[in-house]
Amino acid sequence: MSKIPQTRQGHRPVAIVGFSQSASVRADRESNEVEMLLPIIHDVFQKAHLTKDQIGFICSGSTDYLIGGPFSFVTALDAIGVWPPKTESHVEMDAAWALYEAFVRLQEGDLDTALVYGFGKSSLGNLSEIYNLQLDPYTMAPLHPDLVSLAALQARAVIDQGFGTEEDFARIAARSRKSALDNPFSQVRRDDSIESLLNEPYLVSPLRRHCLPPISDGASAIILAAGDKALELAEHPAWITGIDHRIETHAFGARNLAVSTSTAKAASVAGVADGHVDFAELHTPFAPQEIIVKRALGLGDEVSINPSGGPLAANPLMAGGLIRLGEAAQAILDGNATRTVAHATGGPLLQQNLVAVLEGA
């Protein structure tokens, strides 16, 4: 039987023992959120050899604004069927933070398992209009800076400060789409030449279409188990040996947009630099953001980034961060990696970031 690795922050050892995701698609017109979640909830229980009755805690991540109504998480809970009643919670954040809440909940020792899920049907509305409502309602939202224009400001800062070029952005996009060819759940899966990408017109300078993520409908689910329970449920549990998240100010003018101090802080607490990294899954939906986050994590060029294709190939909102954790865990669960890094982001222009180190025994 495999051993349990040391956790960096003195946490009770908790591992990802099952991961499932839906195929990301531009618009899933066949299913509502519950129907999107049902198959992956069923699948993740099978993978972890558990039933819902054996789950101690449930936590989900979603946002009401994608459906344009209150309580999108309420009906989604029907995908589980919480009867008899269960201990359940929800964050209005990417489901990576639902995983964090569940990880914390498992620290006390009274519960050993948790189900985490996230979902987003981006196809229901206009994301640029919706995400404008996330900005400071007094000083920023009334100016209607759309999502892509804001990302262009950040891209410009990356170029101006010498961290990357337009060609680097194209290289990141081409690599992501090519990697996605091996991932049946991904959405933009093709082999593009860097030249062809650079021949695209600017959408908002310096961003071209390939610098943007696709619009995706999708969902994901993870099962966590603590201590011996994880060893019982998985041959190679993906242990969360370090995890932390930090937020920065909302005031764009008060941040250096080309640098992610919150990622760097979280990476330092989670112990990214304490060992080799097989690969990293980064939640960087705009190509220039990969450069920023990779620098903040202190990862060298020898570390493979987003072998799943990452968010530039599939970007289901509110589930995308959790998918990064799932992809980073799956390689360990499959016995193909021993130490991986997962990153998730929230808020405009990388305002909030979560970093986790996953290890096999």
Partner: protein
């Protein structure tokens, strides 16, 4: 093994229909600063911030915690945002408490709010959603038929709800933070107010409020330091629980939901309580519509099924002369900044066992229940707090 959790700082705003004098950030800052001052802490002492509020459409801002990070001193720290419908104020406090119980942090600031005047909750609750039949009813319209079912099942006389409406407003007169201060409140006044959703009159419904609630939750060490520096004792968390059940299914007991009963049983077991009416000194329970007092008296085990209204009718739940006072602060019926309403229940319970509830203090309160529910009464969050450090 969970670490002990203490409530070491408490703050709230004066709740009003419209707080035109402050931004949302200013509103939260007001409550948070009061909680910090009460705990003897500064912003730098806080390890993490947990924010809660009800649906974002209540203000029209998507995930407002992002623009609130700086105002709440969270820059460079972990920040989380909880949303579990109307129970969110309670759930938010519990998420923060677990960060301490799980040994992650020493001191966590938790803040919940609603600035209802920025939007229209009735509208936000009624917008048609994809794939769902619109209710177009708001919360009162949703709960009125369930209340009708309770009246039929229990045979309660029709004036019980009005008694709760009067009692909670009279108690609110002793709470300077309460939104509604109605010294002339009477049964006649409630009865003559507009019938909104049969059987609920206008004055049997909660108000729409702007307001925020905040607490500093700390570890045992943090509690010692706070008590030494402020001279005020903490409230200790003796039990905490959340439960959810599906919104709708055939046979669901909407009057007396299983999730509420299970949640109460869990929290009482942790706190070593077998008879809540006898062993608790008071309770702050989420009663947004008058009839939910007798209904929750039964759901929470203070009375047998069908008997809750008799406690209300006998005056047992009144601060003045009752043996188990409910909602001494005036409750949700007197202040309803929706996202904060659950946290107000939790912090009012803590104020009572700290002996800091002022004019609405229950004499020598040692153990109190804080309760919140949400959605169509399928989400529950509760804690029991005590004056004594738990074993």
């Amino acid at each position: 093994m969970a670490n002990r959790v203490a409530v070491i700082g408490i703050g709230q705003t004066h709740h009003k229909s419209k707080r035109d004098d402050v931004s949302i950030a200013g509103l939260l800052r007001e409550a948070a600063q009061r909680a910090l001052d009460d705990s003897g802490c500064t912003w730098a002492d806080i390890d993490a911030v947990v924010v809660g509020k009800a649906p974002d459409m209540f203000e029209g801002i998507m995930m407002p915690e992002h623009f609130l990070a700086a105002a709440l001193g969270a820059v460079g720290k972990p920040m989380m945002r909880v949303h579990t419908a109307g129970s969110v104020g309670g759930s938010t406090a519990l998420v923060a408490a677990h960060l301490v119980a799980g040994g992650i942090h020493q001191r966590v600031l938790t803040v919940a709010f609603e600035k209802q005047s920025d939007s229209d909750a009735m509208w936000a609750l009624s917008v048609p959603q994809p794939f769902s039949a619109p209710l177009l009813a708001g919360a009162g319209g949703y709960f009125a038929p369930i209340i009708r079912a309770y009246m039929r099942r229990s045979g309660a006389p029709s004036d019980v709800g009005m008694r709760v409406a009067v009692k909670d407003r009279l108690q609110a007169l002793k709470n300077p933070y309460a939104h509604l201060h109605m010294p002339d409140i009477s049964m006649k006044m409630v009865e003559e107010s507009v019938l909104l959703w049969d059987p609920l009159h206008y004055l049997e419904s909660c108000p729409s409020s702007d307001g925020a609630a905040a607490m500093v939750l700390g570890s045992e060490d943090a509690a010692k330091i706070a008590e030494a520096s402020t001279g005020r004792r903490p409230a200790w968390v003796h039990g905490m629980a959340m439960r959810s059940e599906p919104t709708m299914f055939a046979g669901r007991n909407q009057v007396n939901p299983q999730a509420g009963r299970d949640c109460a049983a869990d929290v009482y077991a942790q706190a070593g309580i077998t008879n809540p009416r006898a062993e608790l000194d008071c309770a702050e329970v989420y009663v947004p519509f008058s009839w939910y007092e007798p209904m929750w008296l039964e759901n929470l085990g203070f009375a047998a099924e069908g008997e809750g209204w008799k406690l209300t009718e006998s005056g047992a739940t009144a601060l003045d002369g009752g043996d188990i006072p409910w909602n001494c602060s005036g409750g949700v019926l007197s202040s309803n900044p929706i996202g904060a309403s659950g946290m107000l229940r939790f912090l009012e319970a803590a104020l009572q066992v700290r002996g800091l509830a002022g004019d609405h203090q229950v004499e020598d309160a040692r153990k109190a229940l804080g309760h919140a529910y949400g959605g169509g009464a399928q989400f529950f969050a509760m804690w029991v707090v005590g004056a004594d450090r738990p074993e």
